[in-house]
């Protein structure tokens, strides 16, 4: 594998982010007449302005934020567990977050205070990360990690169904698809507002852990002997992953494979350094989810596909290829 830091990576990703954001903003059931929007800035009643500001903009912003969270959390988890398969979806952290969000949402807690829904996601995600950490062990083998992930995913998704079953709501059962596959359709600025504080806090935790993740390349004792308080640093990352994944999942469901695929694509371009991987993975995650959301709207503008279907269609084959390659490298 060629692995060399590329100077053009960040400018390229920022440009891609801008383009993907614009593409997502412009895709929808109808072409948006931009002239209408701008000429009628003062005219509040314009439908195009309403559609752009209240429907498409919140949706695209949320897609970007969710993607950034998942890409960043994936990069951080892979660094922490020193395992290239440790995406938040594959090891069950996303489903645990969804479980936390489902419980707070369907049993009415989410209505009590704005922060309770993302908090529910956060608690679920934190439990998920801790569970995978203690179940798979620190020096997790690929097999151990995947097995633990399968178990956590199975338990979490069946508990989601159970919780939805118990909620006295005629729509709850059909909404299981949203929680397991994810979507940003029809999200409003309120969804963005409740998730953003948690997401930003998580980004700070994770982006500040770059140096520690670098040192962790040499094992836990290696990192300790390089001056890092491993318990505190690890807790920092667990909290960061819980904040980002918890907030993202509680407002968009479980959009799979982003946290797995994105760090993989970026890794060779940053010389495989776990610390340098973080920021580009966040941006590339945003690009991936924005493109997936644009694809969702282009493929079926009326009866919308779930976002997770598109990311899984990209991520699934990628994962197969990864497994294939790892088998051959192991031999």
């Amino acid at each position: 594998m060629r692995s060399k830091p590329r100077w053009w990576l960040l400018p390229f990703l920022v440009l891609a982010l801008l383009l993907a954001f614009l593409l997502d903003l412009l895709s929808g059931p109808f072409p948006l007449k931009l002239s209408e929007v701008f000429s009628s800035g003062a005219r509040k009643g314009s439908v195009d302005a309403l559609v752009l500001l209240e429907i498409r903009l919140p949706r695209s912003i949320l897609a970007g934020l969710v993607g950034a969270c998942l890409g960043l959390a994936g990069a951080a988890m892979q660094g922490l567990l020193r395992n290239p398969l440790a995406g938040p979806g594959l090891v069950g952290v996303s489903n645990c977050a969804a479980l936390g969000a489902v419980i707070t949402f369907y049993f009415g807690f989410a209505g009590l205070a704005w922060y309770l829904l993302p908090l529910g996601g956060l608690v679920g995600a934190a439990l998920g990360v801790m569970l995978i950490f203690f179940l798979a062990g620190r020096e997790a083998s690929v097999l151990g990690l995947i097995l633990a992930g399968v178990a956590i995913n199975a338990v979490a998704s069946s508990l989601i169904s159970l919780a939805l079953n118990f909620s006295e709501n005629p729509y709850a059962m059909s909404e299981i698809v949203y929680w397991l596959l994810g979507s940003v359709a029809d999200s409003s600025i309120r969804d963005v507002a409740i998730a953003v504080p948690f997401m930003f806090a998580g980004w700070l935790c994770l982006l500040g852990s770059g140096r520690f993740l670098d040192a962790l390349s040499f094992g836990e004792e290696g990192a300790q002997s390089m001056g890092f308080n491993i318990g505190r640093q690890r807790a920092f990352i667990i909290v960061g992953v819980a904040l980002t994944v918890g907030a993202a999942v509680s407002v968009s469901g479980n959009v799979g494979f982003v946290g797995l695929v994105v760090p993989h694509l970026i890794r060779p371009l940053v010389g495989a350094e776990p610390g340098r991987l973080l920021l580009p993975s966040a941006i590339a995650g945003a690009v991936m989810v924005l493109l997936a959301d644009a694809a969702v709207q282009l493929l079926s503008p009326q009866q919308e596909l779930k976002l997770g279907v598109v990311t899984a269609l990209v991520g699934g084959p990628f994962f197969l290829w990864l497994v294939y390659r790892m088998r051959h490298e192991a031999v």
Partner: protein, 278 residues
């Protein structure tokens, strides 16, 4: 088009008579009737005396979904499970056309008489279903009475509708909007509105994306949300700020979903209520 309910009536009475004859000839009037569906529950509660009803489904007792919940009283409730149903030893089980097929087949194999009541897509269908059920229960007089009352309530609607018809949209949780080939769609038409769902080509109804809804700027939003205080994503969609802003600028009505969720005489009240909004 306002449905010409009266014209079809002759045909209907004939069917009714034949049915009565068939049912009457075959069996005694059922005495231990079990209904396992919200719609058949309501028809049963309307048409049969309480002492002949062994059980209705648990939905029938929920006033949010059942227009006749107060009539349930002490009648035992069931959850449409075969063991519960068999325990009542029914001589007639009323199920809906789309009830669980395996349950219906099993009950029939066990030797129980199961009658499937058809659904309704129009006001004529409602009349047919009521007549059909009345015949099944051998209560033709009660059926005729209900139909007559319905006709009386619908009568003022026969006045020519304002032209052009105002554009209305029924918006249910998930953004679902029923079209012409549904009971709510028929009610909307009878009340003199044009249905946005029809205009978009959704005869049977479909999800209308929020953006599309805003573009068509309907004159009337009819929000069909039976339990607005529940927590679901489906209902959260009805509280989207863009929709709220747009709704504030046009007419809105909340309709009691019980009025048109089943083929009962309540549909006439739904027509009357909507007609008043025009």
């Amino acid at each position: 088009m306002i449905p010409s309910v009266k014209l079809d009536r002759r045909c209907l009475w004939l069917t009714l008579l034949i049915l009565c004859y068939l049912c009457g000839g075959r069996t005694q009037a059922a005495e231990r009737i079990v209904s396992i569906n919200l719609c058949t529950d309501q028809l049963l509660l309307l048409l049969a005396p309480v002492e002949r009803i062994s059980s209705v489904s648990f939905m029938a007792a929920n006033p949010v979904y059942s227009a006749y919940a107060e009539r349930v009283g002490q009648i035992p409730l069931n959850h449409a499970r075969v063991e519960e149903i068999v325990a009542f030893d029914p001589d007639l089980v009323l199920a809906y056309e789309l009830s669980d097929r395996r349950l219906v087949r099993l009950l029939r194999e066990l030797g129980y008489r199961v009658e499937l009541v058809p659904g309704a897509k129009s006001l004529e269908d409602v009349a047919t279903v009521i007549a059909h059920t009345a015949a099944l229960l051998q209560q033709p007089a009660a059926g005729a009475e209900l139909l007559a009352a319905m006709d009386r309530q619908l009568d003022p609607g026969r006045a020519a509708p304002a032209d052009p018809r105002p554009l209305a949209v029924i918006y249910a949780p998930n953004g679902y909007s029923p079209g012409a080939e549904t009971l709510p769609g028929a009610v909307l038409e009878a009340a003199g509105f044009a249905n946005l769902s029809d205009r978009l080509g959704n005869q049977y109804g479909a999800v209308i994306p929020l953006e599309q809804l805003l573009r068509h700027q309907p004159d009337l939003y009819i929000i069909d949300d039976q339990e607005p205080n529940m927590n679901s994503l489906a209902q959260k969609k009805l509280r989207h700020p863009a929709l709220e802003k747009n709704i504030a600028a046009s007419a809105t009505a909340r309709i009691d979903g019980r009025l048109w969720s089943c083929p009962t005489p309540m549909v006439a009240q739904a027509v009357a209520e909507l007609r008043d909004l025009r």
